[in-house]
Amino acid sequence: MYKQGKYPIVSKKTLAKGIFDIEIYCPHIAKAAKAGQFAQVQAEGFFLRRPISICDINKDKGTIRLVFEVRGHGTDKISELNKGDLVDIIAPLGNGFKVLDKGKKAVCIGGGIGTPPMVGIAKEYGENATVISGFRNAAAVILQEDFKAMGCDVQLCTDDGSAGRKGFVTDALLDVLKSEKPDIVYACGPMIMLKNITKICEENGIYCQVSLEQRMACGVGACLVCVCRTVKDGQEFNSHVCKDGPVFDSEEVVFDE
């Protein structure tokens, strides 16, 4: 059941330059939400809503967390909201990540602003999760303390080596695979990163889910604008990120050449 409403922001933090973390009190949504789902957030003065992943869910407090980067005018407007303000959202949307049984091991990989949705899913695995996140540089690093607090094995990469190891998240993943084979890999980030992770997982026979992005209008599956190419049984067809996704089994995604 989708909910639309104006909900109060109960806390707001700046995680890095231009990256904001808001916690919204919306008990019905928090109750229904799963890791990997998203919210359609209204930016005042703009016609279309902005899709933002649900970073974390606190069912007890009745809150969800959205972590987003200012990328354009709409997210800039959303970033002007403060504690106590109401934010108009539709949520929870999309399918969310598949959660395996207790005891299974997961690797959660976030690239840049693809990192936030990893919080919710890594939480499901706690100490059984390895979280690999990649950022441009030390100044862009976010959410590492959250992952540590959940007991995850945290591996940080930066492009320039200014924090954690220098290099790509795929390098870190290959290293992890040397010592253990996880039951599932979750990934969110740039297409090229998802493509490479998909390839690695395929080669290693690991089940992998990726969270995709596409420009959206309705966010619920009605307007068909948020198309992505998928494949099943050798047959290519259009899926829709908002309803069929944003999470797809990586083997079903057709990555452009």
Partner: protein, 303 residues
């Protein structure tokens, strides 16, 4: 007392507010917000003879007070509509308008024929889709072709036939007259205005299709003007749409001459828009001592 039920083209609608084709799918998604029985009807996603994959993405670009789309009539084909969507829709206690589009005149007629004997209440023949190469806008921008396709469909259909007009023309009145003369029972307007946006960083059009159809509040004044012109030029009823977002907009459109209205892009901003609009209209009637909303249709007094 329900003051907003309307008879449009012989079909009884419990209210004159209908989600516009392509913006509401077949209602399955929005049913999670409210029962579809709250709607006057639903104009379903454009249906073609065969399954269509539509255009590649991105298919949407934001614009000031509006949006461009280039979906390109993605749909499962008419058989899937009849066999899968329609049986579900008929249980929803709302009117069903089948929006159809063909790439040839024959295809349009064949589509209409297939819908004979189904529970569809009305046909909306889309001769104005800016996002497909054949048919679509090509049909809607030439009086003769528009007339011919109307006639071909009218000859075979047993349903009330509404023809959906393109605003991308020099004289929408001429097209409206032509489809009226060829047997259309109603016209609906406007479809989207052709537009474009460019990402100045990548120097690429935002839409993979380069251009797309503009809708949303931005186009409202153009739609009101066209509805007013057409309503004054034809005798058949006019279904008005284009940028309606509030009940005030809907009232304005009806005063311009629309017997009923469709609401499209506004639903993306507020899923409840059609319901709120219907409620606002009911209250407007009550507050102004209007027994039935139909009394306001075409009542604008030009200077």
């Amino acid at each position: 007392m329900n003051r907003i039920n309307v008879n449009f083209c012989g079909v009884e609608f419990k209210n004159p507010v209908i989600p516009a084709s392509g913006t509401f799918g077949y209602g399955r998604e929005y049913e999670q917000f409210y029962p579809l029985s709250k709607l006057g009807g639903i104009s379903v996603k454009g249906t073609t003879l065969h399954r269509r994959e539509g255009n590649p993405g991105p298919r949407v670009a934001e614009t000031p007070s509006g949006m461009l789309n280039s979906v390109g009539l993605q749909n499962g084909g008419v058989d899937k509509f009849i066999n899968y969507e329609l049986p579900n829709l008929v249980t929803k206690d709302t009117r069903i308008i089948a929006n159809i589009a063909g790439s040839t005149i024959e295809e349009c007629a064949e589509l209409a024929e297939k819908l004979n004997g189904t529970a569809v209440d009305m046909i909306e023949l889309n001769i104005s889709c800016p996002n497909v190469k054949q048919g679509g806008a090509a049909f809607g921008t030439d009086c003769n072709v528009a007339g011919a396709v109307t006639k071909a469909v009218k000859d075979v259909t047993e349903k009330p036939l509404m023809v959906k007009l393109s605003p991308n023309v020099t004289s929408i009145v001429d097209i409206a007259k032509s489809v009226e003369a060829n047997g259309a029972d109603a016209v609906s307007l406007i479809n989207t205005l052709l537009g474009m946006r460019i990402d100045i960083r990548t120097r690429r059009p935002i839409l993979k299709n380069n251009v797309g159809g503009l809708s949303g509040p931005a186009v409202f004044p153009v739609a009101v003007r066209m509805v007013w012109q057409v309503a004054n030029a034809v005798k058949i009823p006019v279904m008005g749409m284009g940028g309606i977002a509030t009940w005030e907009d809907a009232i304005e459109m009806m005063m311009a001459g629309a017997g009923a209205v469709q609401v499209g892009a506004a639903i993306f901003a507020d899923p409840y828009a059609p319901v709120k609009i219907a409620e606002g209209m009911q209250k407007f009637c009550e507050d102004n001592g209007i027994n039935n909303i139909s009394e306001i249709v075409g009542t604008v007094k030009p200077w």
